[in-house]
Subunit: 234 residues, 2 copies
């Protein structure tokens, strides 16, 4: 990392799959959803339709668990050719509620790293999820107090990070973003002149590998686990 | 208002029914929802069930249009005794999407007042709705640029406002909140030592009247329209 890393004042952490496990719970709900509807269509086809419905609803619903639930219901109506029963829809609501209620385990080293960094930097959560869901996950995992506040972002483009930095009253080179997505957490921040630390979650790793060669070394690093951040900043 | 009103640095505006018309669109969707399900139960009973379902889901879903849509679907299954059809559920999804997509007209004087205040105070939106919905409404009504940023709050209790003030790095007496709800926008802010300007929306007015006698005059005023704020602060 660049020696000017000492200028950093605020560290933003992505939440889902950076601080805690999340994506596997979505996959599990989808699996149960497909099992529920298997009389109408096979798993592969249902997942294909679900993806299309989610993309179609993104502009209107945004991200998060409630958007996901509404898209599940719409997909159920679609793939069943209008034959899905009220009982099956009720079951989908129950699957969604169970997913919202479940506990998301922290990823390795999270509390220790946050405890060390919180005394020297202003830490924030910067996430696209539902505020209520993210507050609940922070509280349940006992790490709320390490964060100054939660920033809910409707998307994570350069423009959204520019607004965030303006809101935080900091310059790009005073901001470091830590996250599991090169596309959403790292690239837009680097392009603005900020710093990024990429900690791939096993699911996203292969898919985004190619992008890494585009990244300027001085403002960017990939780590295997969050604990490796401490020798760099601690 | 208290002479120390000149200390105010940040003015928070509630969004729905303070900046723009919102509640009547929810009522209209509910009316259409009841018409759709009239074969199963009468309007009064459906509304009673819907209210109970919404209260029951509040902790899990929070506020906003997607929470509302999910509660409408759950209520439809309930009031139909599990007989509601996939076609009727699809219609409920369409009602919800239409409500999210519609244009919310600004309340009288909003752009003029914001234009005047924005040069002298930091203005923010402080709202319980979905971020994406509120960003869309701000953008559609052409008033985004007057605001420093949008604060999405999972609830509006004293504790939430305390966190907000901490996040904004201001003391309570540097904050003024403008909103249509005494309970959510004014009382918790006043209790913390901040200022509140209450602009009742016609629907909430009668219901909350009684609370006004509990309010300390120096930190609180009720106005009929937003334009009346200018002689006080402008």
């Amino acid at each position: 990392m660049h020696p000017d890393v000492r200028k950093i004042k605020v560290i933003g952490f992505d939440a889902d799959d950076t601080l805690w496990v999340n994506e596997p719970f979505y996959r599990e709900t989808e699996k149960q959803f497909c099992t529920l509807l298997k009389a109408y269509l096979n798993e592969e086809e249902i997942n294909r339709h679900l993806f299309q419905v989610e993309i179609g609803n993104l502009e209107l619903y945004g991200y998060g668990s409630k958007a996901f639930m509404l898209s599940l219901i719409e997909t159920a109506i679609l793939v069943s050719g209008g034959k899905v029963t009220a009982g099956e829809i009720r079951k989908i609501l129950e699957l969604g509620k169970a997913q919202i209620s479940q506990h998301n385990p922290l990823l390795p080293g999270v509390p220790e790293v946050l405890a060390t960094l919180a005394s020297r930097y202003r830490l924030i959560v910067a996430t696209k999820g539902d505020l209520l869901d993210q507050e609940r996950k922070l509280k349940n995992s006992g790490i709320s107090n390490f964060f100054h506040h939660i920033e809910i972002m409707s998307d994570k483009t350069e423009d959204h990070y520019r607004k965030l930095m303006n809101h935080l009253d900091i310059k790009p080179d005073q901001f470091l973003m830590v996250g599991n997505s090169l596309k959403s957490d790292i690239l837009p921040v680097i392009r603005l002149g900020g710093y990024g630390i990429h900690i791939p979650f096993h699911v996203t790793w292969q898919h985004e590998e190619v992008l890494e060669h585009e990244m300027p070394d001085a403002h960017y690093m990939t780590l295997n686990t969050l604990t490796e951040i401490l020798p760099l900043l601690g």
